[in-house]
Amino acid sequence: MELIRTEKVCKKFNQLTVLNDIDLTVNEREVVCIIGPSGAGKSTFLRALNQLEIISSGKIFIDGELFLHRENNATVSRVNQTEYKRLLLEMGMVFQSFNLFPHKTALENIMLSPIHVKKIKKDEAEELSRRLLADVGLTDKADEYPSRLSGGQQQRVAIARALAMQPKFMLFDEPTSSLDPELVGEVLIVMKKLAESGMTMLVVTHEMGFAREVANRVVFMCDGVIAEEAPPNEIFSNPSNPRTKQFLNSVL
């Protein structure tokens, strides 16, 4: 069953076209990695899905429903407000810069939105949060402020925070790009475990090893279009698009 589908999604900033007719489908329990050079529009596409960027035109389907339809920078149709909120909460988002709340401890970061958005009781939220912290291997860091955690630990807390809303799928926006090289591994391990547990994931990444190992499908984006879309072994061993070949040669 498809969880995300986009049709002819475009995003223009004035004259600059960042996304040009993006058609992409992500099915349930699938891990899709988006790779490509910087400026290709990968992050913008991810951010367009959960409305951090508003697309110029195109259709976004979430969980089978037409979530948003826009043409010429104007909204043609959108799901009603309650559905909109519900569908937004089906997407968990992990940012490149973690964006943990610095004035809350790791545990409070995770508990915050279950309590204030889902209106779960405090002790239930705490139990859930402690379990998630244990899942990402940070049981002993529950009461630490983010400034006392390493980058890798912060990103793991951020993943746990997104999971606390029990999303149907997760969006990862270059989750390891701002990490020191020796800290990348611990985050990738958590993501791999998450993929193995059956979570649907859409990952923008520069970690080719991760894409090759975990992804069901790899999407190569370049200059605002999807240049190639194929299973990892195919795209890494035998890319059909010369642009893909050039990119892979420069990063591998």
């Binding site: 937004l88 997407m91 940012f95 810069s97 709340f101 925070r161």
Partner: protein, 308 residues
């Protein structure tokens, strides 16, 4: 540790305030004071007492028969005691001591005006700042105009307008209480300045914090209340402390509507005693209050930066 210091500050403040209250409340009856003077002194007195104020009376006692040529001893009765005042340092100190109750009354007006106006102004400014950054254009424009007006015109003129101008527009708008008039003008003015401080603090918070709040499903108001404003508070404290100290001194403008604040009192004493001596204790009082404000805000800043 923080609590200990806070308790010490509170105790010190309580002692100062109660001393001030006792000094300004104790008005010993004149008979009480005269009873303590020896009978011959009273008999010799050409002028039994030349001056009475709330708390003290001054006896100018001339020695010798001819008033014009006689040397004068000045005795002052104060809080149930009689002191002989000579010229020089002792005289100055005694004078300062006698002015102190009046100065403390003025200080009370200055400090209370500062605290209530800045507090109220800060309260308005939160809403003005949120209005200013609101995406709803008319609200943003109204708040912008408010800020433009109150920052762009002198506070003195605003004060003048509230006290003297409003009654001319409509007698129903007359504000008889000078303190209330000063409070209105000052708090509106602080509201404009502080709203820019708050807007800057809110907008200095990393955009990622908003994005994370959105991704977690928090509403705009929740994101503001739970995420953005708590983080801005620490950045707000230094400019807000500045605002307090500025208003403390701007409060001297209330002389224009003859409200007896510290500066106004000082000037009255200075002109009635034909001496500039009174400015020394007045300035020291200003410095002490500024130091207290600074101390409190430094503590607050430390308290709010635990997570850094």
């Amino acid at each position: 540790m923080n609590k200990k210091i806070l308790i010490r500050v509170l105790i010190a403040a309580a002692v100062i305030i109660s001393a001030a209250v006792v000094m300004s409340l104790s008005k010993p009856p004149i008979e009480d004071l005269t009873a303590r003077i020896s009978p011959e002194l009273i008999e010799n007195a050409r002028t039994s007492y030349s001056e009475t104020t709330n708390n003290y009376l001054v006896f100018n006692i001339a020695r010798g028969r001819n008033v014009r040529t006689a040397e004068t001893d000045t005795y002052i009765g104060f809080m149930g005691n009689i002191f002989q005042i000579n010229d020089g340092f002792a005289n100055s100190m005694a004078n300062i001591l006698f002015w102190l109750p009046a100065l403390l009354n003025g200080t009370w007006v200055t400090v209370s005006l500062t605290i209530v106006s800045v507090s109220a102004g800060l309260l308005y400014s939160i809403f003005i700042a949120l209005g200013r950054i609101s995406k709803f254009k008319p609200l943003s424009v109204i708040c912008g105009a408010y800020i433009f007006f109150f920052r762009g015109t002198p506070l003195l003129m605003q004060l003048f307008f509230v006290y003297y101008g409003l009654p001319m527009i409509n007698p129903a708008l007359t504000i008889n209480d000078k303190f209330l008039a000063a409070f209105i003008a000052f708090s509106l003015n602080v509201g404009a300045y502080a709203s820019e401080i708050i807007r800057a603090a809110i907008q200095s918070i990393d955009k990622g914090q908003f994005e994370a709040s959105h991704a977690l499903g928090l509403k705009y108001g929740q994101a503001m209340r739970l995420i953005i404003i708590p983080q801005s508070i620490r950045r707000l404290i230094p400019p807000v402390a500045n605002e307090f100290i500025m208003v403390l001194k701007d409060a001297s403008l209330v002389s224009i509507i003859a409200l007896s604040d510290l500066t106004h009192t000082t000037r009255s004493i200075s002109s009635s005693s034909s001496s500039v001596l009174v400015f020394i204790p007045a300035m020291i009082i200003y410095l002490i209050i500024t130091a207290l404000f600074t101390f409190v805000f430094n503590k607050a800043e430390k308290k709010f930066s635990v997570y850094h």
